[in-house]
């Protein structure tokens, strides 16, 4: 079996934290390395300054006393000074005087700066090897003077800084990894919870919802969106199921009727042409219904949502009124058109025309002669654009209005009128695509005195 790294190690959070820790460690190491270098340089410069002034001081003795003065000065200082190391040699390297036995082995003729080690007795008498830094100066006659200073302490300081730098970098790295593990573990737990929900839903449990902690952070928002998406899917599935049931019910009836009709005609000597014409008409109506169902499904699937453009609802209404004015006049219905100009909505002319044509068709169908239909475009008190159609027909009782918007629902009073029962649900679907509210209300009262009339309105969201 392959051992897999724990879930949190595979998360992006963990990887990012570890990467950050690594970068932090590298940069802190770099800073400390710089401090180390600067310190070492500063210490060296200080030593060099002291050595230069010492050499100048001894060199002064040479000017006044020649090589003997120099020798004397070296001898005196060698026995006095604890701080300095001296050696004066002939050109061939044999020592003349000083507290060092000879030139250090690392010295090459011509060198100015010499790094070397020397032995020093400590308090217990043991010899310890210590680091030193020296400056060499050649005098006439080939004499070479080397003045050195002990730098063992400096070397230890610098080395300690280097060690600290490594330790700090290591600590940062460790801390970073630990933080990463902690954060990503928490993150991984929450993501795992979301994944578990997604898996359950995929396996058919559509009721599952993602956990919320209501902090509104990214994951919480993701949960909220996921839940809303699942709600929408559930609603769509429910509406599809009910649509399927309605289609089965409402299309089976006319299909059965057609079938029986044809069967009876085959068996009798009825006027076949007339029957065929009627059946043809019924088939056409069925196809229209199918098309309407298809259209509603496509609208509900939201296919055309992206096609909305800014338009003036007044133009849509005015064009429609020109199509319907003649039929209204023909049926002695007064068509009142009141349009507030200059309104803007995000919409689709073809879809809106279809929706309001449906509503106008209904209004014309149900409004009795001498009645009136009003087509209005106005701004509501909340500043939203509204298109409404009011008629003086019988209206729809308040308790039946919501049901009337559903597919295939034909209210009792309309059973005898032609129509598929899809008109208002198509309007509802078109309103949904526009993010608009579709409202049914009482009208001004029926002209025939047997109802309240109907006011159907679409209220559009503001465009800005």
């Amino acid at each position: 079996m392959i051992r897999r790294a724990p879930a949190f190690v595979r998360t992006t959070t963990f990887r990012l934290t570890v990467l950050a820790a690594f970068l932090f460690a590298a940069s802190s190491g770099l800073i400390l390395y710089y401090v180390y270098g600067a310190t070492a340089r500063a210490l060296r410069a200080q030593t060099d300054r002291v050595l230069v002034s010492e050499i100048e001081a001894i060199g002064g003795e040479y000017k006044t006393g020649g090589i003997n003065g120099l020798n004397k000065a070296v001898s005196v200082r060698s026995s006095d000074a604890e701080d300095f190391l001296y050696v004066l040699t002939y050109a061939d390297g044999r020592p003349v005087s000083g507290n060092l036995d000879s030139l250090p082995s690392s010295f090459e003729p011509g060198d100015k700066v010499v790094l070397f080690e020397y032995g020093r007795q400590d308090d217990e008498g043991a010899i310890e090897t210590r680091a030193a830094r020296g400056l060499a100066e050649e005098f006439p006659g080939g004499f070479i003077l080397l003045v050195g200073q002990d730098v063992e302490e400096d070397r230890l300081v610098v080395r300690r800084i280097a060690n600290e730098a490594w330790t700090a970098a290591g600590l940062v790295l460790l801390l970073g990894a630990a933080t990463g593990a902690f954060l990503s573990h928490r993150f991984a737990l929450r993501v795992d919870a979301l994944n578990a929900v997604a898996r359950d839903v995929m396996h058919g449990d559509l009721e599952r919802r993602a956990p919320r902690n209501n902090t509104n952070d990214e994951l919480d928002t993701l949960s909220a969106n996921l839940n809303e998406m699942l709600d929408r899917i559930s609603r769509l599935m429910a509406s599809m199921r009910s649509a399927g049931d309605s289609i089965a019910h409402d299309l089976r009836t006319p299909l059965t009727r057609m079938r029986n009709r044809l069967e009876a005609t085959l068996a009798s000597d009825e006027d076949r042409e007339m029957v065929l014409r009627e059946v043809l008409k019924e088939a056409d109506d069925l196809l229209k219904t199918f098309n309407a169902v298809l259209r509603i499904s496509r609208l509900e699937a939201g296919e055309r949502r992206s096609k909305l453009v800014i338009l003036d609802p007044g133009d849509v209404a005015r064009d429609l009124s020109e199509l319907y004015d003649a039929v209204c006049e023909d049926q002695c219905i007064e068509l009142i058109v009141e349009i507030t100009g200059g309104l803007q909505i995000r919409g689709d002319r073809a879809m809106l025309s279809q929706a309001f044509a449906n509503l106008l068709d209904n209004a014309v169908k149900y409004t009795p002669a001498e009645g009136a239909i009003a087509l209005r475009v106005r701004r509501t008190q909340q500043g939203e654009a509204e298109i409404s159609i009011t008629d003086t027909g019988p209206g729809i009782p308040a308790e039946e209005r919501e049901r009337a918007k559903q597919r295939f629902v034909r209210l009792e009073k309309s059973r005898n009128e032609p129509g598929s029962g899809l008109g208002l649900s198509l309007v509802q679907a078109i309103a949904d695509v526009h993010g608009a509210k579709f409202l049914l209300d009482d009208g001004p009262g029926s002209t025939s005195g047997d109802g309240a009339g109907l006011r159907a309105a679409m209220v559009f969201p503001k465009t800005s």
């Binding site: 056409d284 098309n291 055309r304 073809a350 279809q354 044509a357 068709d361 129509g419």
Partner: protein, 223 residues
């Protein structure tokens, strides 16, 4: 007229060919897009009737290829997809008219006649005449037998369309599409009412009617 029907449904194709033949046309048939394209390229047809969904090469691509060759034969697209976007796609591909399935045969025939008429590019006319009915497109005036007739703008456009298609059957759907630019079926007889209004203006005071109702199909303006 010689037509090519590109349709993969054999029953629908036979029905179309039979109907077209009875109306005095000659119709060839191709079962898939590629055959259709080859036939359209090799023979000179007056009109192509192309189904949108075809095996091997879809209808819209067929039209696009034909147009790329510089072939301007009028094309009527048949499709089960009837949304405005689908129509726009069809026209963009180079189709000249678009008919949604299911359609009445009379509707198809009327549209084919309209397309055939379009094939002979008329010089841009500023005056139309059918019998003693005359229309001046520049002055926006109509008169019959020297008698001036006042029309609303919409009635003027309706009559203009009928006059441009004089002698042909014009369906209600065609009028709704071409005069009002709507693509849905009204449940009420809105178009009939507009036509009867127009009729009362141009025919009422005259002995010989020009605007005829064609049963089960639509209208025809004819002297």
């Amino acid at each position: 007229m010689r037509l090519l029907v590109v349709e993969d449904d054999q029953v629908a194709a036979n029905y179309l060919r039979k109907g077209l033949k009875e109306s005095g046309h000659v119709a060839d048939h191709a079962e898939d897009g590629e055959t259709g394209l080859e036939m359209a390229r090799s023979a000179d047809y007056d009109i192509l009737v192309v189904d949108r969904m075809l095996p091997r090469l879809d209808g819209l691509t067929l039209i696009e290829r034909l147009r790329a060759d510089g072939d301007r034969t009028p094309v009527l697209v048949l499709s089960a997809l009837g949304e405005v976007d689908d129509r726009i796609e069809g026209l963009k591909a180079g189709g000249d008219d678009y008919l949604t399935k299911p359609y009445a045969f009379a509707e198809l025939l009327a549209r084919i006649d309209a397309l055939a008429r379009r094939r002979d590019p008329e010089t841009v006319k500023t005056k139309l005449a059918v019998g003693d009915l005359e229309m001046d497109l520049l002055a926006r005036t109509v008169n019959r037998g020297g008698q001036s007739i006042l029309l609303q703008p919409r009635e003027f456009r309706l009559l203009e369309f009928l006059m441009k298609h004089a002698g042909q059957v014009v369906t209600r759907t065609m009028l709704l599409e071409k005069v009002w630019d709507y693509h849905f079926d009204p449940q009420t007889n809105v178009i009939d009412v507009h036509v009867s209004r127009l009729r009362s203006k141009i025919d009422k005071d005259f002995e010989k009617p020009l605007l005829h109702t064609v049963r089960g199909a639509g209208y025809r303006l004819e002297a």
